[in-house]
């Protein structure tokens, strides 16, 4: 028993000298920050449940009432627009950013820093400055492409670069891509075969993570779409909040829940399930 006591006190002594904050302090910080995040959400839920007589699911069930279809049409239209924009942004990530990142890593490693700098630019420039610069391009591009959605999608492709690039880069760094490519090439594989059979499966986690982050960014984007007079989900939510604030809050909550689920899925995918046999 005395041994146990000694070990326990030793552990306490170590803990007291540790650089980590004490448990009550850490708990307090966590509770405060948790409340900071939770209170607005709780308030939103409470607000969405308010009725003339108290609380109920009236506004939630109203979403599915055919009588309200005309009122809520802009919201569903905005949702479809946002999802389309997200798909275009993902296509840009997979078809342009992924090959570029691989090319830089494999063939031009000296350009890694340059690529990192370029991909971080969209996050460093304020949205309003981005819009001022992009507005003339947007106008000219619409005349050529004849689709505002596609052009805004291209802009969103730029907007998601900082997030998607990091997700892809992390997955490329996690495996020895140059050696895998060299091994496949030395076994007689052509470049398309190397890309399809080796690189895409090996980098699957990074590609999925980059895609989900792109969806999350695009679903939450308001400023650029609003300033360019496009009706995406966030613009529609703000628009409808003037006439029906309950539905606006409900859609905001649903969008938030969707993004939270996406991030949780990314977390699961990014966690390697490795069972190592030491044989």
């Amino acid at each position: 028993m005395s041994t146990v006591k000694t070990l326990g006190s030793a552990r306490r002594v170590r803990a007291s000298h540790s650089l980590a904050p004490r448990r009550p302090f850490a708990t307090t910080v966590l509770v405060v920050i948790g409340l900071l995040f939770a209170l607005p959400l709780i308030a939103m839920v409470e607000f969405s449940l308010r009725t003339t007589t108290g609380h109920g699911l009236e506004h939630w069930t109203g979403l599915f009432d055919p009588a309200n279809e005309f009122r809520y049409r802009p919201l569903f239209g905005g949702l479809v627009e946002s999802l389309t924009l997200a798909l275009i942004a993902i296509a840009i990530v997979i078809l342009m950013l992924l090959p570029t990142t691989l090319l830089v890593r494999l063939r031009f490693p000296k350009l890694v820093r340059v690529l990192e700098f370029i991909t971080v630019i969209p996050i460093a420039i304020p949205a309003i400055a981005l819009v001022v610069g992009l507005a003339p391009v947007f106008g000219a591009s619409i005349r050529i492409i004849n689709s505002g959605t596609v052009v805004l999608g291209l802009i969103y492709g730029i907007l998601v670069l900082p997030f998607a690039a990091r997700a892809l880069d992390a997955s490329i760094r996690a495996v020895d891509v140059p050696t895998l490519v060299e091994a496949a090439r030395s076994l007689g594989a052509s470049w398309p075969r190397v890309f399809v059979r080796i690189l895409l499966p090996v980098l699957r986690r990074g590609i999925v993570a980059a895609s989900f982050i792109s969806i999350a960014v695009v679903l939450g984007e308001y400023t650029i779409a609003s300033l360019l007079n496009r009706q995406n989900l966030q613009v529609a939510i703000v628009s409808i909040s003037r006439s029906d604030p309950y539905v606006a809050v409900i859609f905001s909550l649903l969008a938030l829940a969707f993004v939270t689920v996406l991030l949780a899925v990314i977390g699961r995918i990014a966690t390697p399930k490795r069972k190592v046999f030491d044989v």
Binding site: L180, E182, A183, A184, R185, L187, S190, W191, I198, V276
Partner: protein, 355 residues
């Protein structure tokens, strides 16, 4: 780009490096490298880091383009042939197994690119796995294997396509000592079985001496000396080779009437040197004997350190003449630090040179 056609099982082919130069900007990694490898031969490229051995191997594989010179495999100029059409098998230092494929799929990969029918593909892959002792591991993934097993799979994957030449880029470096020795011997056994021409890059002289038919010692982008392990060990032609292969001590002595005085003895020279020249002689630890100070012969000195190496012992002695020398002797003799001893040369004839 089409995939290469299947190749038939064959014995080794010749490999020629002809005046191969590789430059990275102002830096020259290969400096007019000339090397001829006979069919079925196992040649080790040995040298310190930065000597160009890996660049030479990667150039032969097609993973690096050469600045000038020619690379010939079986008489065919492959200098400008892309890597996937050279029909070579390569094993890398890092295990390089495809993590998304299991063991058998990894081994079948090269056969798929050659469009070998499924049944034959599986049979050949399984046979090669049996050959490397991993017949029961076909369904496992890379992360479920130890380092040695992963390298065995990489070897099977490289060999299953029956390549013209097998290239080994420090395949044992990442393994622990025991597994390294086992796999080294296995590689040699399989190479002899298949008769495949093999180029093996290593910085470990013991590995090279143990498995290679010939060793090319590389220095500053070209070959300093090439020969059998025995030739390189016993008759190094340059100071660099003598210093790099095995352990030795450099001694100097004046040439007088075709002989030199070394460690208290008059020794003959294998080849004559000019009278009065200052000859430089490299003496290996096993060519020296440690003797009692009171009753023995040779030059006196004091023990500095003594290391137990299992069946033998290596002792560093600081001679009274001011030189430190390493002596290899029986593990039964256990000299103490600072003990007075004598060092005697066991050879009657030595190879010396004059700079």
């Amino acid at each position: 780009m089409s995939d290469p056609t299947p190749t038939a099982q064959r014995s080794g082919v010749s490999v020629h490096f002809r005046a191969v130069t590789k430059e990275y900007g102002a830096q020259r990694a290969l400096n007019g490298l000339d090397l001829e490898i006979k069919p079925g031969e196992f040649v080790a490229l040995l040298g310190p880091s930065g000597c160009g051995k890996t660049t030479a191997l990667r150039s032969l594989a097609g993973l690096e383009s050469v600045t000038s010179g020619e690379l010939l495999i079986d008489g065919e100029d492959v200098t400008r042939v892309p890597v996937n059409r050279r029909d070579l098998g390569m094993v890398f230092q890092s295990y390089s197994l495809f993590p998304n494929l299991n063991v058998i799929e990894n081994v079948e990969f090269g056969l798929r690119t050659r469009k070998v029918p499924a049944a034959e593909r599986t049979a050949r892959a399984q046979e090669m796995l049996e050959r490397v002792g991993l017949g029961d591991f076909a369904e496992r993934y890379a992360h479920q294997l130890s380092g040695g097993q992963q390298q065995r799979v990489a070897l099977a994957r490289a060999l299953v396509t029956r390549p013209r030449v097998l290239l080994l880029d420090e395949p044992l470096s990442a393994l622990d000592a025991k597994v390294r020795t086992q796999l080294r011997d296995e590689i040699r056994r399989i190479q002899l079985d298949l008769g495949i021409t093999t180029v093996f890059v290593t910085h470990d002289q013991e590995e090279a001496l143990a498995v290679a038919d010939r060793i090319a010692v590389m220095n500053a982008g070209k070959i300093d000396q090439i020969g059998t392990p025995e030739e390189l060990y016993r008759r190094p032609e340059t100071g660099f080779v003598a210093n790099f292969i095995g352990q030795s001590t450099l001694l100097t002595a004046l040439v007088h009437e075709g002989r030199i005085a070394l460690l208290g003895r008059e020794i003959d020279l294998t080849e004559p040197l000019p009278e009065g020249a200052l000859a430089r002689v490299r003496v290996r630890p096993e060519n020296l004997a440690l003797e009692s100070f009171e009753h023995g012969e040779g030059e006196p000195g004091r023990v500095v350190t003594s290391s137990f190496l299992g069946s033998l012992r290596r002792t560093t002695v600081h001679l009274d003449s001011g030189l430190s020398i390493v002596v290899q002797h029986s593990a039964e003799d256990t000299p103490e630090v600072d003990q007075q001893v004598r060092v005697r040369l066991l050879q009657d004839v030595v190879t010396a040179h004059v700079d």
